[in-house]
Amino acid sequence: MSAPAGSSHPAASARIPPKFGGAAVSGAAAPAGPGAGPAPHQQNGPAQNQMQVPSGYGLHHQNYIAPSGHYSQGPGKMTSLPLDTQCGDYYSALYTVPTQNVTPNTVNQQPGAQQLYSRGPPAPHIVGSTLGSFQGAASSASHLHTSASQPYSSFVNHYNSPAMYSASSSVASQGFPSTCGHYAMSTVSNAAYPSVSYPSLPAGDTYGQMFTSQNAPTVRPVKDNSFSGQNTAISHPSPLPPPPSQQHHQQQSLSGYNTLTWSSPGLPSTQDNLIRNHTGSLAVANNNPTITDSLSCPVMQNVQPPKSSPVVSTVLSGSSGSSSTRTPLTANHPVEPVTSVTQPSELLQQKGVDSSSTTSSASPMPNSYDALEGGSYPDMLSSSASSPAPDPAPEPDPASAPAPASAAAPVIPQPSKVAKPFGYGYPTLQPGYQNATAPLISGVQPSNPVYSGFQQYPQYPGVNQLSSSIGGLSLQSSPQPESLRPVNLTQERNILPMTPVWAPVPNLNADLKKLNCSPDSFRCTLTNIPQTQALLNKAKLPLGLLLHPFRDLTQLPVITSNTIVRCRSCRTYINPFVSFIDQRRWKCNLCYRVNDVPEEFMYNPLTRSYGEPHKRPEVQNSTVEFIASSDYMLRPPQPAVYLFVLDVSHNAVEAGYLTILCQSLLENLDKLPGDSRTRIGFMTFDSTIHFYNLQEGLSQPQMLIVSDIDDVFLPTPDSLLVNLYESKELIKDLLNALPNMFTNTRETHSALGPALQAAFKLMSPTGGRVSVFQTQLPSLGAGLLQSREDPNQRSSTKVVQHLGPATDFYKKLALDCSGQQTAVDLFLLSSQYSDLASLACMSKYSAGCIYYYPSFHYTHNPSQAEKLQKDLKRYLTRKIGFEAVMRIRCTKGLSMHTFHGNFFVRSTDLLSLANINPDAGFAVQLSIEESLTDTSLVCFQTALLYTSSKGERRIRVHTLCLPVVSSLADVYAGVDVQAAICLLANMAVDRSVSSSLSDARDALVNAVVDSLSAYGSTVSNLQHSALMAPSSLKLFPLYVLALLKQKAFRTGTSTRLDDRVYAMCQIKSQPLVHLMKMIHPNLYRIDRLTDEGAVHVNDRVVPQPPLQKLSAEKLTREGAFLMDCGSVFYIWVGKGCDNNFIEDVLGYTNFASIPQKMTHLPELDTLSSERARSFITWLRDSRPLSPILHIVKDESPAKAEFFQHLIEDRTEAAFSYYEFLLHVQQQICK
């Protein structure tokens, strides 16, 4: 059974999609072919429209188009920085822009290009219509980029002449220097370029200054400049992706303004509206301006143009919205700065707030959260409403909101219509694929559905289709998605982007995008869901979700209401992606059942208004938390109960962990999550089991010894788990006494099994958390284990055995515990083999977590001791949820296939989690059971029901919405390579346990081979000699190689069995962000940190050095490098490292005086030391497991540790990256 199952998983699902990109050269042509087809169409479409329209009108059109340009830019960014750019770009853009200017270095080629661009854009301004045209051009330009830049550009010229070139700016974004040059040239000719805003952009001030300057002087030129600048920054920025996004928005909005005023002087009112929107509305505001523009246009001129214009406007709004959404998300979670970008976003936001105009740019999401908590919420709503509303009247945001309501009725019918067009339209939209571009395209048509969803956006019912079609055309003109750009892997030397890789943004319309779940919590390996299983099989990519459901969130809407609105048939929670058929009914987005809106839901407590169910926080946020009623309880919420089971055998005492544990506990006793009912207990064991009676009233803790380990019983069941507050003194006494109680023990045996049985008995009435500390193989009683490891086999290249458990004792125990809502967390501190494969079962199936400290010793191995200390601090104080279950629902037609993580699967979609902690990640494999042809969107909803440590029953709901696509190219365009790798890693772990390690390795390689060859076969006109991959997958082989060299899967390198098993456990239970660092560490050069591109966190400047590829060729003896491996940091100091660095940062006079074992950076009062420390602290803050820092000298023996992570290099037993590529190519050609 298992064998077949395993095989099917990895083999089939594991396969990754192939890529167009076979040959760069041919690739260019190829993409041009597919992309070009649609692109030209699109261009023609818009162009024609413009042509027809009177000049003034035309200008307006252009304006509309302009938004698309924005989008295109977005995509461009995407392309250049496939993953990273998406998220970070937008947000960071605002403040980052300056940074980019400052540090052109990051982009090697680009600095020059950027300037060119900037010039280019201004030119368009000169033309009256320029802005609009400009933007349009930009969009088109971006298209050009992807496909064939030159022809397009010429095209564009016809229409918007200068504007086109602005498009070129977008091109720049794509990141091809050469192309940039082309564009730039053209643009330059066109434009007379005003002083570019670039220079003026100081890092911090960017926003306010930018705006003011723009407004005051020649508005357009300024805008253009900024725009171009942004584009370039964004696209190329690969090094510094974040900054551009917001600026784009703002700029765009500005441009929109200008154009409006300029083009249609007669519409002052509209302008006013626009302005209001900006200031008043949050993130949406950006969109609004554009929208208003469009509106104004229609108003001015009737005819068809209006339709198109509205469409465009929606698109624009969508684009801006999308960007804004991104930022907000990141902004929201500053606490967990996954990437540098997030924090920047905060900065941006703040800045945006400062300047009124900027405000609009502020990310909507944060606002919404704020609103929820603080009351700014209404603004959000109005803004969102306003964006849709625009057409009816150019009224300010608030006004617009009512308008929609009135129009709601007509709108209602739209949904169905809209949906269909959207669905079919989508394929045509191919060009838009790129994340950025995609939004535009999808945005246009999707906007309709969105409207229907929110009901309100009454707008142009009749017009919708027309507009949508028109919009589609214009959108289609959008360039081939950057994510589809073929990359010749064997010729691309620097495949790794300079900035962290970001999750791709699903190709949704702006409103949905804005509402979508944060990729930090919820990611899908394919952001474009294939329509059928056949298509999925063709793509050879794994389809699955990666979840981090209980993540620490700084802002989370918490909803208390008597009735939690759920679908009556599938029990889905109401979410932003449902559609309201009318005021009283909503349609479930998972099962399509029409449900009634309960009376209570009609009232919106935030706005204190009635009859607007679509504005309830549940429908405005994809991540919400409900306070559940007693319907969601099987028993009264349990108190927080903690039991510590400690190994006190000779081995344990020798290792000395007790001191550290007791110390940490004493320090954090008051911070243990819980309420007044919190209970705590202790047990110790060696060959006997010791209980501690801590009953209040005793003068000192009482130790009760049970030596009958064959039939364990609880000596005094009532007084072993005691109230933390009532017995605090006794507990403290015990903790102070414990470390010294066993110092002279001679007992070497360990009766872990019986101790666990006793713990289970103790916990079963309440449930809770059991923390087990173990230092050796259990040698007595039930569950005793024998050593299975053969040290001679550690570096075997053939068979790695004993990855599975030796006994099912621990598994059964875990299942029993899980049934009693008890989780077992294992801390394994051992110097010899302890059969983690067997012991881990106790945590795996009870939803616990596993910590492993190889060769732990409190004096001999201080870094491990320090790590334990820090981990314990986090462990003891982090949030915890008890008696939890998690259900994952998905749209009809999809089904859950396999779950990965620590839990017990209770039914096909229900995970039983005795405890849930914020550091737990999950993965789910999906399969497509029915064709999804009749739907254009699919949704996934995770509902986590848990008891908080305060005894509240809560439900945390995440909802993710993704588009469905029907073409293979679209599937490839939407690959989230990091998510795919993490899912593959999970599958490979399963495979290694159920089958064998070599099987798993083969499956991983096959995943690359299959996907790339499948990609190759979809792109017929590529050179077959070259190894091509779509841009979205270009990192796939690298990551797979990294996986093959990961401790869990490597062969031929000496790896202790426990280390390997622990790595596997981590792969299964770590959330994506942390797992990616484990798989592919980040390498930075830190001896020359500068403030270029730095981000500000809590008044600290955090430098952002570019990523280096993991190859020794990047290491120079003159440098010092920091490697971030997730749980470990290494600083490698080269022999010839600058003495200034050694002195200023390390605190030693020269290289020779640096000690061999150094684990701290001294706090020196020098600039470089400050920078290095703030950078490391910043990296550290972003993860739950505090990493230990090793400073590795070039000569020290420890450098092997460091060098094993250089995965692009050849090792004795494994390929180098280039060899691996050749190997893959060979396999494909077979």
Binding site: P4, A5, D808, F899, F904
Partner: protein, 212 residues
């Protein structure tokens, strides 16, 4: 026969499939006829003497192939197999229903595994038992037809997950869609096999009885 009749209702109780039941009933009817024919036939063929078949039937293992319509050991094996196969059909149906319940979330996987696991070995042993019987009876063709299933059973049990108790199913992996689908498929395939085998044994029994 009577045993069989008694079994039928219980099979019918399983909601698993009308088809099966219908087939069963047809089979049972056929058996009834066949047995009647055998009994009648023996009397008809050998009206004068005490019917060897009966003595043979009572005897533990009469190996002699008497020229008369002998109730040989082979025939006995077939009859036994017939009855046991009916039991196996019951097992298979139970198996299918159990996995269907799992798939539709009616049951907790732990409970389900606890009910299924004890049945695994009996099923395998029953099958192995009449395989041995056929071996003893030198029914090579029948044995050959059963060998693949026997080998599969051995392989299946050898490759079971680490478990302290008997059985095959691990509640922690059973909900894996692949394993679930595999188990369901396995159940249907076995059901089909047992049904076919049932008729084959019936035929074989008659054939042996008639030809001997």
């Amino acid at each position: 026969m009577s045993v069989q009749r008694r079994l039928r209702p219980s099979e019918g109780a399983g909601a698993a499939g009308l088809v099966r039941r219908r087939a069963e009933r047809a089979g049972a009817a056929a058996v009834a006829v066949a047995v009647a024919a055998v009994a009648g036939g023996s009397e008809w063929f050998y009206p004068e003497g005490p019917a060897p078949p009966f003595s043979a039937g009572n005897g533990a293992a009469p190996r002699s192939s008497s020229p008369a319509m002998a109730f040989t050991f082979a025939a006995f094996c077939y009859m036994l197999a017939l009855l046991l196969t009916a039991a196996l059909i019951f097992f298979a149906i139970w198996h299918i229903i159990a996995f269907d319940e799992l798939k539709t979330d009616y049951k907790n996987p732990i409970d389900q595994c606890n009910t299924l696991n004890p049945l695994v070995l009996p099923e395998y042993l029953i099958h192995a038992f009449f395989c041995v019987m056929f071996l003893c009876a030198a029914e090579w063709l029948t044995l050959g037809l059963n060998m693949p299933l026997l080998a599969y059973h051995i392989w299946r049990y050898m490759s079971r997950p680490v478990m302290s108790g008997p059985g095959l199913y691990d509640p922690t992996t059973i909900m894996n869609a692949d394993i679930l689908a595999y188990c369901q498929k396995e159940g249907w395939c076995k059901l089909a096999f047992y049904l076919l085998a049932f008729f084959y044994y019936l035929y074989g029994m008659i054939y042996v009885l008639v030809s001997s």
